[in-house]
Symmetry: C2
């Protein structure tokens, strides 16, 4: 048995904190790091420290950022009238990669989940309401995932913003590009048929 | 697009160096790290730096270690007469976990692989020969994996140590515990039948 002052054992244990990383994967990572040269290992360690030192939450959209307001919120070339509400920063990142959306964002940092004990107050919904009340916004695209929790969150946002004069929209459901009909559930297929488009 | 001075982007890129970690997994890891508290993030970063600062190779068995000779080589309670030759430190770690082996080790740091350009000189075979010539060793268990490369490496070791008076053994092939015959190749099944044991 190896003692706790064993640096490899310690690194394996630290890496096991990462999501879905078990003992075997952590071992592979740890021995990979042992084999890195000093400079590259230090770069990796610094990247972890830096992200903690520099990354905060944008006080407008609540995305993670090292600038405040974040790059997107301070970009004068983007539309002010449309705000896309997403569950988390990774969803925002995916949308940015597709480059389809040129408005502003609002990051909820989660969805309603009674199991995880996440209620409306844990999300940034009040902050969204305040942005809306500040004027300038014409449309809010609710882009939470089409899961049970995502839908419940979308409904809640609809409720909370219901008395405002704003246009609320929801991202479309359907068959994703490259998808095969036989692998999708009937809810998705129903949406794909109901929301069919003229050719 | 995010610029290179974006700490999250930088961390994602650093984490993508890890084996079998692509963009999506690196993103999950990075946002997990962003959500860690400062202390835990720093512990993870320090574990990386420390492993590089403290971990060297044992000058007897060539396992990674922060002590020289390593704990196993300097353990007076272990048998000196038997040396188990393994491909890499993770194989050694697996054997130690099983606690079946109480002798010494020799870590090759790889196997012969023409594709990866790894020949006999890249492995610690000469070092093994020198250990053998130093006397005291009665048996060498060649525990390279039963893959093409592992077998080739086992043969090479056999060749190089052939003129010594030492007993060379090879780990047994067969069906692993919990295994189902239908999922194993005929080479494995042949070994399982040929090496059958009296009950």
């Amino acid at each position: 048995m190896q003692s706790v002052d064993d640096p490899i054992r310690n690194l394996i244990d630290e890496l096991k904190r990462l999501p879905s990383v078990g003992e075997k994967t952590a071992q592979r990572f740890a021995y990979f790091i042992v084999a890195l040269n000093d400079k590259n290992a230090r770069k990796m360690a610094n990247a972890i420290v830096e992200v903690k030192e520099k990354v905060k939450v944008c006080t407008i959209c609540y995305n993670f950022t090292n600038l405040n307001p974040c790059k997107i919120c301070s970009d004068t070339k983007r539309e002010n009238g449309v705000v896309c509400v997403v569950e988390d920063p990774r969803d925002l990142m995916a949308l940015e990669k597709s480059a389809v959306f040129k408005g502003r964002y609002h990051v909820l940092h989660g969805v309603i989940s009674p199991i995880k004990g996440i209620g409306p107050d844990e999300l940034r919904i009040d902050e969204l309401k305040r942005r809306v009340e500040g004027g300038k916004i014409n449309e809010i695209i609710i882009a939470t995932n089409p899961t049970k929790e995502g839908e419940a969150t979308a409904h809640l946002i609809q409720e909370r913003l219901g008395n405002t004069n704003i246009k609320l929209t929801r991202i479309a459901r359907g068959i994703p590009a490259g998808g095969d009909l036989e692998y999708f559930d009937s809810q998705t297929l129903t949406a794909a048929i109901m929301n069919r488009k003229d050719l």
